[in-house]
Every structure is written in structure tokens, then in C-alpha cells.
């Protein structure tokens, strides 16, 4: 691992900014900085969002696990519970549809010139995170902890090596994308 690079704080802020520029560039080129494309996905009329996400996941999965096999990176699986996944996921989903952007694509929409994202959307997300920070202390160890899924990954759950899960998962994603194309979506 490149720990000597990871430790340089100033350099990391520059690398974060550079990665963001590329991320924003790719999101805009993919079309997902646009409300119409995102809401079109949620209305099941335009499958651009899903295609971009699944292509990114399959590519990322193969590369990151290869780097892990070479001991060049370590994984950072998020922790969570059934209650964070189901209720947080549904609340997020409502916001996704009503706002028409997600946090990353909202930043991209601002760069694209969309003023609904830069005003109401941005203000709303900030207020929403603030409200969550206000209640977090009361729900942290109760509601949010219920049905703990820890940092479980599929290989650990199935008690198999990483590649025994990665290869079928990547193949499955490619199959889903192929079926989407075949269905003309």
C-alpha cells in the first residue's frame, strides 16, 4: 500500500479534488447531471442511470479486488443494519424522485448550470443532514442498530474466497446489462 502517499494530508486534498473533477466530468458526459435522465430512470423510461452504475460497479469490482489480491489496497465496506438499509434507503428514494438528483449528481448539476439544484436542492440536502445530526444521538444505539449487518461482505457471508464471489457477480451484472439492451431499454 502507498501509505506514504495516503499520509500526506495536503496532497490528499488535491487528489480528492482531482478525482472529483474526473468524476464530475464522467457524470456529465454520461448525462446524469440532468434531472430528466434521473427521473426518467425512476419512471422506468430511460435506463441510463442503471447502465452507468452497473458498468461502474462491474469495472470497479474487478479492479479493486485485483489490487487487493496484490495487497495494494484495502477494502472499506460500510457498516449498517436492516433498519439503516430499508428505512434510510426508502427515505433517500423519496428524495431521489422529488429532488431529481442524488448528492453527487446534484454537485454535477450545479456545475452544469441547473439552478433548481444550486438553490432549493442544495439547501434542502443541507437542512436534511442537519436534521439527521440533531436526532442521531437518540437513535444511534436503538433504531439504527436494529438488525445489524455489520461490515459483512458477500464472500464472508458465503464463506468463500473473494474471487469466487467477484467473478460470478461481475458476470451477473454483464448479463443484466445484456438483457437490458436486448429488451431495447
Amino acid at each position: 500500500m502507498l501509505t506514504n502517499i495516503h499520509r500526506k494530508k495536503g496532497l490528499q486534498l488535491v487528489l480528492g479534488f482531482a478525482a472529483g473533477i474526473l468524476f464530475g466530468f464522467f457524470l456529465q458526459k454520461g448525462g446524469v447531471t440532468r434531472y430528466d435522465v434521473i427521473v426518467g430512470q425512476l419512471l422506468l423510461e430511460d435506463f441510463t442511470v442503471l447502465k452507468i452504475m452497473l458498468a461502474a460497479v462491474a469495472t470497479g469490482m474487478l479492479g479493486v479486488h485485483a489490487l487487493q489480491s496484490l495487497k495494494l489496497v484495502r477494502l472499506h465496506p460500510k457498516s449498517g443494519s436492516w433498519n439503516t438499509a430499508v428505512w434510510g434507503g426508502l427515505l433517500f428514494g423519496v428524495g431521489f424522485a422529488v429532488l431529481g438528483y442524488c448528492p453527487g449528481t446534484l454537485a454535477g448539476a450545479v456545475g452544469n448550470g441547473y439552478l433548481d439544484a444550486a438553490t432549493g436542492g442544495l439547501a434542502g440536502i443541507l437542512v436534511g443532514t442537519g436534521l439527521f445530526a440533531a436526532v442521531y444521538g437518540r437513535i444511534e444505539k436503538t433504531v439504527l442498530a436494529k438488525g445489524d449487518l455489520k461490515e459483512m461482505t458477500l464472500p464472508r457471508l458465503l464463506k468463500v474466497g473473494a474471487w469466487a464471489a467477484v467473478l460470478p457477480a461481475a458476470a451477473l451484472i454483464v448479463l443484466v446489462l445484456w438483457l437490458l439492451e436486448r429488451a431495447g431499454l
Binding site: V14, G16, F17, M61, G120, T153
Partner: protein, 173 residues
């Protein structure tokens, strides 16, 4: 370099590029792509600047300290990168009301901004409740085959599809 000026790439090209980018963030920064904690930190910074004395004691802001970090710079970079891409492809435009919204709800600015604000509250609250967004769970979590991220991502879309259909087909219909 015509591809830099293209109006839109194939979704597979854009997706693969994002996947490759994630290799480099793991390698060079020991980080996964994500966006929503940057918004939470920003709210904490604003609250602190506004004189919020309880900010340092708040258990959430102890966990996510209100300061500029790698992910905050990433989100700032997204704004810049999308601007550069839009400029190069000639698709930069300042507009208040998206076409799809206007087609159903009209082109008045007020209702769209109010709705974006309301949706933003759900999004900000839900993203932090879920512990991640479409980037953090939907791309980074799923590519690491994290169980909670796959479940969360599925519920992002269940909630999103249900709400979008309700909004456009029932309320707007």
C-alpha cells in the same frame, strides 16, 4: 480529442471510466467514492459559523467532524468537472425548471424550487440515515460486495420508483 467535446458518451463508457477512477481512489487515497458526508460536514461548518455552541458536542459531528476533508474536495471537484465537461460539449445552460418537470407541472419557478427543497430534505436525511448515497453505497459499497450496500441500493430504487410514479402519474396525472 473529439470525445472530450461529445455531447454524451455511451453510458457504458461513462460507467467504465467511473469504475477505473475508483481503482485510483483506493490506490492513491485509500478512499472509496462517496458524496453525502460532505454535505453533512458543510451543515456542521455552517452551524458552527452561525455560533452553534453545541456543534462540537453533537455525537454526529464528533463522528463526522465539520471540516474540509478528501470527500469534501471530491464533491467540490464534481462541480468543476461537470462544468468543464458541459462547456466543452456546449451543453452548459442556466435553467431553473427541468423540461420533464415543466411538461407535467408547468414552468413556474416557485413550485419547482419548493419541491427541490422538500426532496432535498428527504435526500439529506435519508442519505445519512442509510449511511451513504448512490455513490457511497450504490457504486463503492456494491463494488466491494458489501451486503448492506446492496440492500440499501435496492431500497433507493424501490423508494425512488414508487415516489416518481406517484408524483408523475398520480399527482401530476
Amino acid at each position: 480529442m473529439e470525445w472530450l467535446r461529445m455531447e454524451q458518451w455511451s453510458p457504458y463508457a461513462a460507467g467504465i471510466a467511473i469504475g477505473v477512477l475508483s481503482w485510483f481512489t483506493f490506490l492513491l487515497s485509500d478512499k472509496a467514492l462517496g458524496a453525502s458526508t460532505a454535505f453533512a460536514r458543510t451543515t456542521g461548518m455552517i452551524a458552527r459559523l452561525a455560533g452553534g455552541k453545541k456543534v462540537p458536542e453533537n455525537p454526529y459531528y464528533r463522528k463526522f467532524v465539520p471540516q474540509i476533508d478528501w470527500e469534501w474536495m471530491l464533491v467540490l471537484g464534481i462541480v468543476v468537472g461537470a462544468y468543464i465537461s458541459a462547456r466543452l460539449s456546449g451543453t452548459f445552460e442556466t435553467s431553473w425548471v427541468p423540461a420533464l418537470w415543466a411538461g407535467t407541472f408547468g414552468d413556474a419557478v416557485g413550485p419547482r424550487i419548493a419541491t427541490a427543497f422538500a426532496g432535498g430534505i428527504f435526500m439529506g436525511f435519508g442519505a445519512r440515515w442509510a449511511g451513504g448515497c448512490t455513490s457511497g453505497h450504490g457504486i463503492s459499497g456494491t463494488l466491494q460486495l458489501t451486503v448492506v450496500s446492496w440492500v440499501t441500493a435496492v431500497f433507493f430504487f424501490i423508494g425512488g420508483i414508487a415516489a416518481a410514479k406517484l408524483l408523475f402519474l398520480v399527482i401530476g396525472g
